[in-house]
Amino acid sequence: MSLLQHLKNSVRSRSIHVAYVNVGSCNGCDIEILACLSPRYDIEQYGIYVHNNPREADVLLITGAFSPQWEDKLKPLWDKIPHPKVAVAIGNCPISGCVFNRPETLVDPPVSKHIPIAAEIPGCPPRPTEIISTILSLAPLIFKDYEETIR
């Protein structure tokens, strides 16, 4: 790996841009992500910016249990995110479908069937502290060995 790549990677891991997508959650996890923005937890002091724009994101936070409407939308959205990228499943819903995973349900969990998931944060919903510490522990790992391929 070239020195330049090392430098790029270490800079990247200090400035993470986050987008979140709700694929059929109950809102519980979304507002806990929102609570991370509050001055109490202040996610921006760690160099994490929530933009909600897939085209400039590094980390995609996924909440919700995958409702049928997203079948043809999540994959294109994932493809729009530039490399390097990871997806993090927030809450039980994308992991197992939570209480919605019953025979009568409309949702189609887990989300890892549809796009690759790098990390999971269990809990219904997880606390903001849990969300922040997971993203923080994940950040150095995503970018450490990333090497740009020439296309």
Binding site: G24, N27, I31, A35, N53, S67, L106
Partner: protein, 361 residues
């Protein structure tokens, strides 16, 4: 929708201002909005279908997950409706504890709604202040129930756990803190000339239009309609409840109604803490067969549960009407029409506090 115009402007489904996916399709001439339609269906999970044939201890959690922002009221209304079917009366202390937790939930929901609005009109300072204040409320919820969002606090015949005098004291001092902070924030909001430009006279919902389209909750109360299910709830009437009503019907009035309701919740919690006496918090009782229509006041408006149970305590049929259903339609068909600028679309939409998760369930 018929094409009558030069531009049709879609907003969403992913938009920085929206917490949830939904799409507003607007027909505009220049910046002037002629017609709007809200397209939903991105988070449909089929909760009512899952609920059928399940016992209360499962349906209670499903009901809570209809909406994560106002989870306590779903728990509250569902449990009270099965209690009414089976003739269970909650113990006195439990009834007050329910009101306390419900009002804390309403406070955090209203603060979040007003945060979203301030964020949408790009007043980030005030937005962050409100979001931080909300954390104080969340701390109290967590202290009482053990969880921040989906608390699962109310069970048939009572509540899950009691509060000790230490917790009550902490709750009182937190309320004093919120009271003092919010008074200042409201002063900033009321007098801000730029906030006024983005809020006053924007997105007007007249009283007639509100009655005709069955608006509920703060959206209706900001247009001068006296519609609050809490005024008929026995515990609330015992605490001396009276609804907050304003007449203007614009964005500003809707936000102010929510601010005033936060103060009202503070007063209600204080008087509930005063009125509470020692006693048991659970009365027991099993669910009997029957059916009922039961209403409660969610932070966003009137919430209706219609359900049938059987003798084994299972829910056979259930239908939920959540407050955001009428409010989103009112917003699209009355408030968004005649908006003078495309920038007002999101702020008008957010001012009606739409909750997509509970609209689609």
């Amino acid at each position: 929708m018929k094409k009558t115009v030069d531009i049709s402007l879609p907003v969403g489904p992913m938009h920085p201002c929206f917490k949830e996916p939904c799409r507003i399709k607007c027909e505009t001439r220049g910046e002037y909005v002629l017609a709007a339609e809200v397209e939903l269906g991105y988070v449909k999970k089929g909760i009512e279908r899952i609920m059928r044939g399940r016992p209360w201890q499962e349906v209670m959690f499903l009901a809570e997950r209809v909406c994560g922002i106002c989870s306590v009221i779903h728990n509250f209304v569902f449990i009270e409706s099965v209690e009414h079917i089976s003739g269970i009366v909650p113990t006195e202390r439990a009834a007050y504890l329910r009101v306390i937790v419900n009002e804390l939930d309403r406070m955090q929901s209203h603060l979040l709604a007003n945060y979203s609005y301030c964020y949408t009109i790009e007043h980030e300072t005030l937005a962050m202040y409100l979001l931080n204040l909300r954390e104080t409320v969340m701390d109290q919820l967590e202290l009482i129930t053990g969880a921040r969002v989906t608390c699962a606090f109310i069970v048939p015949g009572g509540v899950r756990c009691d509060i000790s005098s230490d917790i009550a004291d902490e709750l009182r001092s937190a309320l004093d803190h919120i009271d003092a902070e919010l008074t200042r924030f409201i002063r900033i909001f009321e007098t801000g000339p730029l906030i006024g430009l983005r809020s006053k006279g924007i997105g007007i919902l007249t009283k007639d239009a509100a009655i005709e389209s069955h608006a509920v909750g703060p959206t209706a109360r900001a247009s001068g309609i006296d519609n609050d299910q809490r005024s008929t709830h026995p515990t609330y009437t015992a605490l001396g409840f009276s609804p907050v009503i304003r007449q203007e019907g614009d964005n500003f009035a809707r936000i102010m109604v929510r601010f005033e309701e936060v103060f009202q919740s503070i007063r209600l919690i204080r008087s509930a803490l005063e009125a509470m006496r020692e006693g048991p918090i659970r009365g027991g009782g099993t669910i009997k067969a029957g059916s009922i229509r039961y209403r409660g006041e969610a932070p966003r408006g009137e919430l209706l549960y219609e359900l049938t149970t059987d003798d084994y305590g299972r829910i056979l049929e259930i239908a939920i009407q959540t407050p955001s259903i009428p409010n989103i339609q009112v917003c699209a068909h009355a408030m968004l029409i005649d908006a003078q600028s495309a920038a007002d679309i999101t702020s008008i939409f957010i001012s009606s506090d739409p909750c997509i998760a509970c609209t689609e369930r």
